[in-house]
Each structure stands twice: as structure tokens, then as C-alpha cells.
């Protein structure tokens, strides 16, 4: 009988599935990975060392590049740290702007994840779909900061400047007629807030498309259900946070447990997974995406809040009215956190 040994394989650092430069030294038994030795330093830029030699403001654009799919969230953490050290109180308007753009960033991030995860699992269509929506979000970035990705928009004490009153327009050219340009500019006639509102109105339809493509898709489920199971204890021990931790069913979200900025003035729900495998992590993130328009159209509890246009139609689909989400009712994470349910969970913990 032949002696069978595990096969050692090098993956990356330049590999389409590595998304960036990740190198994995894998030990395979057939198709199953038995051991993986990740070499993660290929993108390390010693940001801390660079920041030691710069002023606080000069270091800020580096924060965009730490995790280049959640640019403003990194800036946010950096600004919050400086504000805490200096004891700066941020104006309420700036707090709302930062929360709104943090959520836009979250959506950018999750769309990138959903698209590329789908792509890696063999559905390249979803990548094209999510990048279509990312384009609109980049337009929002560009409108406030002038940059599509590395915005440097949040500053210690607030933001770089107020939201613009008008949106940039497409121009007529040799390849695009006046009529076509007019069509493309249709949702750019008002302010940035009008543009965002238009997006939040269109977006639920897009999420339905993603869910139609993936959530009930047999191939998708074959490749994710039961894969990479992480128990809650293991997830905590490994220091996991965010949607990965919630995918394992641990009720933890900083926006609820330790709310910063204006998050405690917002009403929003947080999906919670159950089994901790790949498919539930997908559901948790996909539902965060679905909750996005709840978050940008959050009900403000403060009368000071200036963005009446944005919040004009703030009736948000909550977790309990699942009939409001065609296509994701049958299979979804165990429960979603409504605010009251959340309080009860925390009280019992």
C-alpha cells in the first residue's frame, strides 16, 4: 500500500485570491487544508514609525491606508484617540457627518467583501454588482473630500469641511450626447444629501439582487455552510470582533455597547448569527448591508439635527417586520437586534 503524505504548497504572495499580498504556506491532505502558515507582513508599512516623525495632521492620511477598504473608519479611530487625549468636544453636526460617513464606509467595506468573497467562491457576477454600488459611494466620498478612496476627510475636532450643496456634473462629450449626460446627471441635481437619499431609495432593490444571487443559491450554500466553524469561546479567545464575532452568536457591537459620537442617538438593528460558520458570517454581513438604509436614515432623537431632507422618510424596516424584506425571510440569522431586544440581552448577560 502506498504511503500517503501531506502535500506542502505555497500560495501567494501574488495570487488573485490573496487580495493584496498574503502568502500562505499550506499543508494539504487531498483538498483539505490541514495547516496554514500565513506570512502577513508583505504589506506592512510601519505606519507607527512613520507617524513618530510627523505631526498629528500629517499622519492622518496614513490612516486611510491601514485598511484600504474602510478608509474613514480608520481616520475615525485616530481622530477619536486624539480628541480623547486633548479633551476636545466635537460639534454635533460634525458628529452626525462622521457617523454617516462611517456607515457609508462600512457599506463600501461590506460590498467589497461580498463581491470578492462571491468571486472567490465562483460567482464573478456578484463582484460586478457590488462594484456598481461602490461607484456611487465613491462619488459621495469624492463630493466631500475630493478623493475617491483615501479621503483624509475626518480631522481631530470634526471634519475637513461641511457637506457640499451641489454635486459635480457629467459633461457632454464626443462619446456622450447631451441627452445621455442629462440622464446620468438626474440624481445629481440637488445637494450631496439628496444624492445619498436617492441612493438609499435605490439600494434595497440592489440588496434583493444580491440575495437572489447568493443567499438561497445552492452552490453558494454548498461552499459556505458548515465551513470554517468558530465556536463563541474560540472566537473570543482568538480576539475576534465585529461581524465575525457576531457570526458566532456573541452579542457585541461597539456602536451599541460603548457608543461613540452620535451612535447612541440612533435607532438601528444589528443582525446576529448562530452557528459561527462561513454562511452565517455571510448572513450577518449581508444583513448589515440590508440595514444600511436604516442606518443612514436613522431616526434622530435630537431636535438639533439638521438633516431633515435625509431623514424625511425615516420609516425603517425593522427586524420584526420581516415581510418588508422579500427574498431573505426564510433563511436568515437567528435574530436581529432591535434596540429593546438588545437591552434585554445585555441585561441578562
Amino acid at each position: 500500500m502506498a504511503e500517503i503524505k501531506n502535500y506542502t504548497l505555497n500560495l501567494g504572495p501574488q495570487h488573485p485570491a490573496a487580495h493584496g499580498v498574503l502568502r500562505l504556506v499550506l499543508e494539504l491532505d487531498g483538498e483539505v487544508v490541514q495547516r496554514a502558515d500565513p506570512h502577513i507582513g508583505l504589506l506592512h508599512r510601519a505606519t507607527e514609525k512613520l507617524a513618530e516623525h510627523k505631526t498629528y495632521i500629517q499622519s492622518l492620511p496614513y490612516m486611510d491606508r491601514l485598511d484600504y477598504v474602510s478608509m474613514m473608519c480608520n481616520e475615525h479611530a485616530y481622530c477619536l484617540a486624539i480628541e480623547k487625549l486633548l479633551g476636545i468636544e466635537v460639534p454635533l453636526r460634525a458628529q452626525y457627518i462622521r457617523v454617516m460617513f462611517s456607515e457609508i464606509t462600512r457599506l463600501l467595506n461590506h460590498l467589497m467583501w461580498l463581491g470578492s468573497h462571491g468571486n472567490d467562491c465562483g460567482s464573478s457576477t456578484i463582484l460586478i454588482y457590488t462594484f456598481r454600488e461602490r461607484e456611487d459611494l465613491f462619488v459621495m466620498y469624492e463630493a466631500v473630500s475630493g478623493a475617491r478612496m483615501h479621503a483624509a476627510y475626518f480631522r481631530p475636532g470634526g471634519v475637513y469641511r461641511d457637506l457640499p450643496d451641489s454635486m459635480p456634473q457629467y459633461q457632454e462629450s464626443r462619446i456622450r450626447s447631451a441627452k445621455a449626460v442629462q440622464e446620468r446627471n438626474a440624481n445629481r441635481q440637488g445637494s450631496l444629501l439628496d444624492f445619498i437619499e436617492d441612493f438609499t431609495r435605490r439600494f434595497p432593490g440592489y440588496v434583493d439582487e444580491y440575495e437572489t444571487l447568493l443567499t438561497d443559491n445552492r452552490i453558494w450554500k454548498q461552499r459556505t455552510v458548515g465551513i470554517g466553524v468558530v465556536t463563541p469561546e474560540r472566537a473570543l479567545n482568538l480576539g475576534m470582533t465585529g461581524p465575525i464575532l457576531r457570526g458566532s452568536g456573541v452579542p457585541w457591537d461597539l456602536r451599541k455597547t460603548q457608543p461613540h459620537e452620535a451612535y447612541d442617538r440612533m435607532a438601528f438593528d444589528i443582525p446576529l448569527g448562530k452557528t459561527g460558520h462561513c454562511y452565517h458570517r455571510h448572513l450577518v454581513r449581508a444583513q448589515v448591508v440590508r440595514f444600511f438604509f436604516t442606518s443612514t436614515r436613522r431616526r434622530p432623537r435630537s431636535p438639533l439635527f439638521p438633516y431633515t431632507t435625509l431623514f424625511r422618510s425615516c420609516v425603517s424596516p425593522t427586524a420584526s417586520s420581516s415581510s418588508a424584506w422579500p427574498g431573505c425571510v426564510r433563511i436568515r440569522a437567528r435574530s436581529s437586534w432591535t434596540t429593546t431586544r438588545w437591552r434585554r440581552l445585555r441585561a441578562n448577560a
Binding site: I40, G41, A46, L236, L238, Q258
Partner: protein, 202 residues
């Protein structure tokens, strides 16, 4: 401002009580609790923080090295290297920061807490890589972030920002070669000199 569910004064009392004589100091600043422990008590104190019913820090969020040699522009007289750990309790919604100084400056060694929290393993590799702090009992203390064959510990204060070597592809040798750095350190903090009537504003 960040608000934490549990009152920080209460947390400080709880941590001080759980650690007893193991803690050198338990301070509260800007709503955050910082514990300083001695290297000899480090492992025991961490175990207590994880298991004590009023602490229950089941997550290690961050572990990093610190080099104090340039602290306060040379005013620092104490030990050079420290390890700072941030713990989070998901169950009790509280955080604590633990600082422990390495007893020897020329050979900084501390016990590894990888047995308590698996997340510490990579962070300890990072602190070893960047600061040269050795973690006793780690089991797999390799470099994690720097280049293969890298020499030195780049986050030490005496390591220059530009490093010592640079890398390029050599056409003639047809391979990647390492050479001493060719760039000069430069001043990048702007010196702002405004002329009279700058920009016509005043």
C-alpha cells in the same frame, strides 16, 4: 466622548481587589483603567484578570511593545522596554490596560500569555519582531512582519526611519540585491513663514 457601560471608578476598585498585591499601581485617567504589574507577577496577574468574576476579561484585543528610551525627550530614567496589553470583557462590557516592564534592558524577556489568549501569539511575534522583546514559552517566536532575513528591530528608537538597507532588481545580476540606503534623512515638519499681508487677508 466614549462612554463605557460600567463606571470606571467601580472597575478600578474591582481590578484592584482582584489583583491585590500583584498590582504595583491601578490608575484611572481619561476614563480608562491602567494597571502596572511586575514582570514576575505578570502571568499570575493576567490569569487573575481573565478568571476573576468581577473582571472576566475573556478577550485580548492588543499586545504591543513600547520603547521608553526617548520618552519625555530623555527625561525617562526607568526601564527601557515595556509590554502594554489591552483587555476587553465582552460579558461585562469593560476594558483594562496592563503595562509590564521588562526587567533587563539588554535582554528584554517576559513570559508569554499565549496560553491564556490565543490572540496573544501573533501580537507577541510582532513585539518580538519590532522591539526584540522575547516571550518565554511562546513556542513559535518567529518574525512576523519584516522581510525575510531582516536584521534589527525597526521600532526601537535607535533604528533609523529609513532603515539600513534598500532593495532593487539588478539587471546584470538578474536578481534582487540589497544595498545600503541611499536616501538622506530629511526634515518634513513645515516651517511656516508668513509674509506681511499674506494672501491679502489682513
Amino acid at each position: 466622548m466614549t462612554s463605557v457601560a460600567i463606571r470606571p471608578e467601580e472597575l478600578r476598585e474591582n481590578v484592584a481587589q482582584a489583583l491585590g498585591a500583584l498590582a504595583r499601581s491601578v490608575t484611572l485617567a481619561r476614563g480608562e483603567v491602567t494597571v502596572v504589574v511586575a514582570a514576575a507577577d505578570y502571568l499570575q496577574a493576567m490569569q487573575a484578570l481573565r478568571d476573576a468574576p468581577a473582571c472576566r476579561f475573556e478577550q485580548l484585543i492588543d499586545l504591543c511593545g513600547v520603547d521608553y528610551s526617548a520618552y519625555g525627550d530623555g527625561a525617562w530614567e526607568g526601564l527601557r522596554y515595556a509590554v502594554v496589553v489591552h483587555l476587553l470583557s465582552v460579558g461585562l462590557n469593560q476594558r483594562v490596560r496592563v503595562r509590564v516592564f521588562c526587567p533587563q534592558d539588554d535582554m528584554p524577556v517576559l513570559p508569554s500569555v499565549g496560553g491564556l489568549w490565543a490572540s496573544a501569539l501573533w501580537f507577541e511575534r510582532e513585539a518580538f519582531d519590532l522591539y526584540g522583546i522575547v516571550f518565554d514559552g511562546h513556542g513559535d517566536l518567529r518574525r512576523i512582519l519584516t522581510d525575510y532575513g531582516f536584521i534589527g528591530h525597526p521600532f526601537r528608537k535607535d533604528f533609523p526611519l529609513s532603515g539600513h538597507v534598500e532593495m532593487r532588481y539588478d539587471q546584470e545580476q538578474r536578481r534582487v540585491v540589497y544595498e545600503p540606503v541611499s536616501i538622506e534623512p530629511r526634515e518634513i515638519t513645515p516651517r511656516i513663514i508668513r509674509e506681511e499681508n499674506y494672501g491679502g487677508l489682513h
